[in-house]
Subunit: 335 residues, 2 copies
Amino acid sequence: MVSVKEVAAHAGVSVGTVSNVLNRPDQVKAETVERVRAAIDALGYVPNAAARQLRAGRSRSLALLVLDVGNPFFTDVARGAEARAAREGMSVFLANSDDSTEREGLHLDVFEQQRVGGVLISPAGDDLARLAQMRAHGIPAVLVDREAGESGFSSVAVDDVAGGTLAARHLLETGRRRLAFVGGPLRIRQVADRFAGASAAVAQEPAATLRLCGADEMSLDEGKRVGEALAPLIREGRIDGIVAANDLLAIGIQRALLFADDPVRVPEDVALVGYDDIAYAASAVVPISSIRQPSALIGATAVELVLEAGEGRPARSVVFAPELVVRESSASAPA
Amino acid sequence: MVSVKEVAAHAGVSVGTVSNVLNRPDQVKAETVERVRAAIDALGYVPNAAARQLRAGRSRSLALLVLDVGNPFFTDVARGAEARAAREGMSVFLANSDDSTEREGLHLDVFEQQRVGGVLISPAGDDLARLAQMRAHGIPAVLVDREAGESGFSSVAVDDVAGGTLAARHLLETGRRRLAFVGGPLRIRQVADRFAGASAAVAQEPAATLRLCGADEMSLDEGKRVGEALAPLIREGRIDGIVAANDLLAIGIQRALLFADDPVRVPEDVALVGYDDIAYAASAVVPISSIRQPSALIGATAVELVLEAGEGRPARSVVFAPELVVRESSASAPA
DNA sequence: CGTAACTTTTGAAACGATTCATTGAGAGGG
DNA sequence: CCCTCTCAATGAATCGTTTCAAAAGTTACG
C-alpha cells in the first residue's frame, strides 16, 4: 500500500510537502502542487485515515445512532445530516440501535474507540450517563428527536405539543366536534406530547370533546385493532374525527373502518389525521392528512450543534415547528 | 485522554503487557491480567482504534453499502451482517447509496481511507472498476443481491428464477391457468429473472398462459395504475392469477382491484402473489402471499465471504433458495 | 546445584500521517 | 554588497498502539 513517502519520492519533494499539498495547498507553489498531484494519481495513493486521525487528534467522521433505520423519518434525518456533514468535509456513520440499550451501548463503544468527532443520537433509554461519560472523554453528543432537559446536551426536536394541536385544530376547523386520540403507550414522550397538544386545542372549543384511545404499540396491526373497536362508536355518531399518533396507526385504522362488514366512510363519517407524513400516508386507499416533521433539516441542524459542542460552545436546544399536510381523509365537512 | 502508557504505569507493568492483556490475555499471568483490568477501569481507558489499526494494518470494521436503507430487505441484511460480524469481534458501518453511483463513490472513498476490512455492497451501477481498484489495494468486496459473473468477486444472491417459478407454480397448483406477471423495468436483473422463472413454470403446463405487464417502477402507485388496467381483463375472465415482481406492486394492485367501482375480489376472482415478503404484505387488506428471501442469512453469509476473501481464499458465489409464504390472497381455488 | 524447557514480562521499533521550528532561495532596500 | 523579509520546502518529532526478539523468572529433572 502506497504512502506519503512513496508519493514524495516520486514527486521529488519531502513528505512534509506532500502533506501540505493535501491539507493547505495554498501554501505550496502551484507548480509543486501540480507535480505532487500527478504523483498521487500515478501511484494511486489513498490517505490512511487512521494515521491521519492518530496524529491530528480529531476525526473526520460523525456517528448517527437511530432507534430504527427502517423508519423513513430517521433515514431522512440521516440524509440531511450527511449532506450537512459533507459540506464540512466530514462523513457520517449510520447505526441502528433497534430500541435496545444493549445494542446502543455496543455501538457507542465502537464510536468511542473510533474517536468520532461527535455522536447524533436518538437514545433508546432514559439514561444519558454513558453519553456524559463520552463527553468527559471529549466526544460531544446531540440528542435527536428528544429534549435534552438539564443534561447539558444540545438537542434537536420537533414541537410535538404543537403538532398535536395542529392536528386537532384542523379537525375542529373542518367542523368536527367529537374527537378521538389514538396512540400509546403514553410513556413515550412523543405520544404524550401529541396528546397534550390535541387536548389543548380541544379545550379551546367549548362544544368539543376528546376521547383517549390507548394503543399498545404504534403499528399497522394495532391500528386495525383500534379501528375495529372505534367503528361502532363512529356509527353511533359519538366520534367524528380521529387524531392518530402516527401514520402506521392511521393506516391501520382506516383499513379497519373501510373494510368492516358495515363500512365506515372516510372522510364522510369520520375524518382522520395521522402523524409523520410517511410515504404510505399519501398512497393509502383514501390519502391521509398528516403532520410533517422537517426531517432533513433536523439532521442538518444536529450536525451543526454537534460541531458547535465540539468547539466548546454552550449547548443549545432547537425545536422545529411541525407542518400540517391536508389530504382527502380530512377534507370535507361532517355529514 | 488516557493511553496504554498511563494504564501501564498505574498497574506497574510495561505497555507491552497491557497490550497483551488486551489482545491475548491467555499469555499473561492471571493475577497480572486482574491488575491491568483494574487499572483500565480505574482510569476509564478506551483503546484508540486509529492507533490500533495503524499498527496492526487490518481494521476491525466492515462496511455495508446498500441501495436503499429504507428497504426492509436491506435492513434485515444489515442485521444479519452485524450479528455475524460481532461474533468475529468486528463491527459494520452501514451506508446508503440511494441508487446513485456518485454517492456510492463518495462512500467507497471514505471506506478506502478508513482501510475497512471489507465492503459488502449492492452496487448502484454495472461498473465494478472502482471495486476492482479497491481490491488491488487490498480491500475485498462481496456483492450482495447480485451475481458476480466473471468479475472475480464473491457474491451472495437469491435465485430469482427459482422464486419466479415458485410463485407461478403455486398459482398453477391452485388451479389458475391465465396468469399475468407484473414488473419492470426488465433491465433490472431481478425482475427479468423472476419473469423468466414464472415463464418456465407456465411452459410446463400446456393449458396455461402468461401475460407480461410492464411497470415503470416497483412502487405502490405504479401498482395501482397497473391494477386499474388489469381489472377489466379479470372481469372478462382473461386473467385469474397475478405474480407481482415485488410486494409494493402487489399491494398497489390489490388496492386498485378491491376499490374499483366494480370491485374485483381477491382471491375469488384473481389470486395474487407478491415478492420480498415485507411486513406490509402480511397486514394488507387481504394478506398477500409472497416469496421470502432469507435476508439475515444473506447478510451473515456476505460477512463470511468477505472475511474469506480477506484471507486470500478464492471467490465463491452463494445462491440461496427463496421460500413461498402462502396467505389469503392466493388461498382458494378459482370460481 | 546446574541446566534445559517453559512461562511471563520487557522495551524499542515500527505503522503513516501532521506539525512546526528551521533552512534555503529570491526579492527589495539601503 | 549586506541585511532583512517573504515565500517554499524540509525533516525530525510525535500521536497510541502492536509486535517480537530478548531478558527475566520459574519449574522440573538428573
